[in-house]
Each structure stands twice: as structure tokens, then as C-alpha cells.
């Protein structure tokens, strides 16, 4: 079974803090993704990576950056957290580049920015 793990289930941070969310997958997948999930808005793609050190912006990259130094690990960074970044953050991974591969999701990190 594919396993995608996220470093924290719940996180509380203060406005202006730098926040790191970590994601690790154990199935040697090429692609990794960061989404945020908000009620009534579904999932929105923040960034994704199709290879080590490669990244592409998703639909809502503002205020976020990412890092992928190793194939299995994809980090989401909030440079200066703001209250409108309070959300559920989901990491996912998938194999290959065909466009039809299943994305496997982690359990999510619920971030509260005060």
C-alpha cells in the first residue's frame, strides 16, 4: 500500500511565523502535490513537483513556497503565516506522467494561524 505521511495533524502558529509542513511518500512516486482544502471550495492546488528539485506553481501559490531535495519528501513553506492561510493542507503523490495515475493523499495537516 502506498503511504503518504504528513509531519503534523494539527498545528497552531502566530501571524508572521515561518511554517514548515513536511510530506513523505514511500512508493518512489515521481509526482508530489500540495493542496489546501477549505469548506465550499474543495481542494485547490498550491504547488506540485514532478521530479527532485523541480516545481511548478498551482492555482494558488501566493504566500507559499516548496522544496523537494529528495524524491520521497516534499515540503510546503509559509514564509510569513497569515490568518487567511488557516486551512487544511493535503499532500499527495502519484506515479508517472500519463495523466491518469491515481493521486494518493496523506491524512492532512490542520493549520490554525492566530
Amino acid at each position: 500500500d502506498v503511504k503518504v505521511t504528513q509531519s503534523s495533524r494539527y498545528l497552531v502558529k502566530r501571524t508572521g511565523e515561518k511554517v514548515f509542513l513536511e510530506c513523505v511518500q514511500d512508493m518512489d512516486h515521481e509526482n508530489m502535490f500540495w493542496y489546501r482544502q477549505d469548506p465550499g471550495l474543495g481542494l485547490r492546488l498550491i504547488y506540485f513537483s514532478y521530479d527532485v528539485k523541480m516545481k511548478e506553481k498551482g492555482d494558488i501559490p501566493e504566500g507559499y513556497s516548496v522544496s523537494r531535495e529528495k524524491k520521497e519528501r516534499f515540503s510546503l513553506i509559509l514564509e510569513s503565516a497569515s490568518t487567511n492561510q488557516t486551512s487544511m493542507y493535503l499532500c499527495a503523490s502519484s506515479l508517472g506522467t500519463g495523466g491518469v495515475e491515481t493521486q494518493y493523499f496523506g491524512p492532512g495537516t490542520r493549520l490554525l494561524v492566530l
Partner: protein, 114 residues
């Protein structure tokens, strides 16, 4: 830009009722279509997907979906729901062959009363 619309935000049914959740997308080219489900307290997981061939696709737990190209729709159906189907359901589209970006709908919360 691609978009996905799920018209039903919250659906409440009794056990054994039939289910149909609507999903419409906007993209004129070839598409790959997905339904994901998030059971309470669990990871988002794939229910079924369509990428070519028979437009009626079957997924896990008795779910099926029909791709109707002329209507830009990919509705999810189940003939008889169970209490354990209570979950949030997300439709997603990938409109670029070889790309991995998914665009998700807003989600439909399904509540099944025993």
C-alpha cells in the same frame, strides 16, 4: 482555464435510496475524470476514474459514473446507499494528456440516515 462544478453541496438520503451526484466540467479537449471520497476521519481516496473506452465506469463499493461528453458531465451513481457511504465526494478533471494537475470541484457532503 478548467473548472469543475458540483451542484449539490449537501445531500441527505435514507439507507437504500438511490444516489446521483452531479459533476460538470468546462474543458473542450480530451479529459481524464475522477471521483474521490473522504470518509470521516480518513484520507481522501480514489473511488473511480475514466480516461478512455467505455463511458460507464465502475468503482469501489458499488459506485459507478457515466461520462457524457456532449453534456460535459461525469455524474456519480449508486443504486442503493448504505450508512457507511456517509462522506464527502469530490469530482476532479485532468484536461492535459501527460500532465498531472487535477482541478477539483467544491465537494458534495453526503449524509445517509439509518
Amino acid at each position: 482555464a478548467q473548472s469543475v462544478s458540483q451542484h449539490n453541496h449537501h445531500v441527505i438520503l435514507s439507507e437504500a435510496a438511490s444516489l446521483e451526484l452531479g459533476c460538470n466540467y468546462s474543458y473542450g479537449g480530451t479529459v481524464n475524470l475522477f471521483w474521490y471520497v473522504q470518509y470521516p476521519g480518513q484520507h481522501l481516496q480514489l473511488l473511480l476514474k475514466y480516461f478512455s473506452g467505455d463511458p460507464l465506469v465502475k468503482g469501489i463499493k458499488g459506485f459507478e459514473a457515466e461520462f457524457i461528453k456532449s453534456k460535459f458531465s461525469f455524474n456519480l451513481r449508486k443504486p442503493s446507499v448504505q450508512w457507511s457511504d456517509t462522506a464527502e465526494y469530490f469530482c476532479a478533471v485532468n484536461g492535459y494528456r501527460g500532465a498531472q494537475k487535477l482541478v477539483f470541484g467544491q465537494g458534495t457532503r453526503l449524509t445517509i440516515n439509518p
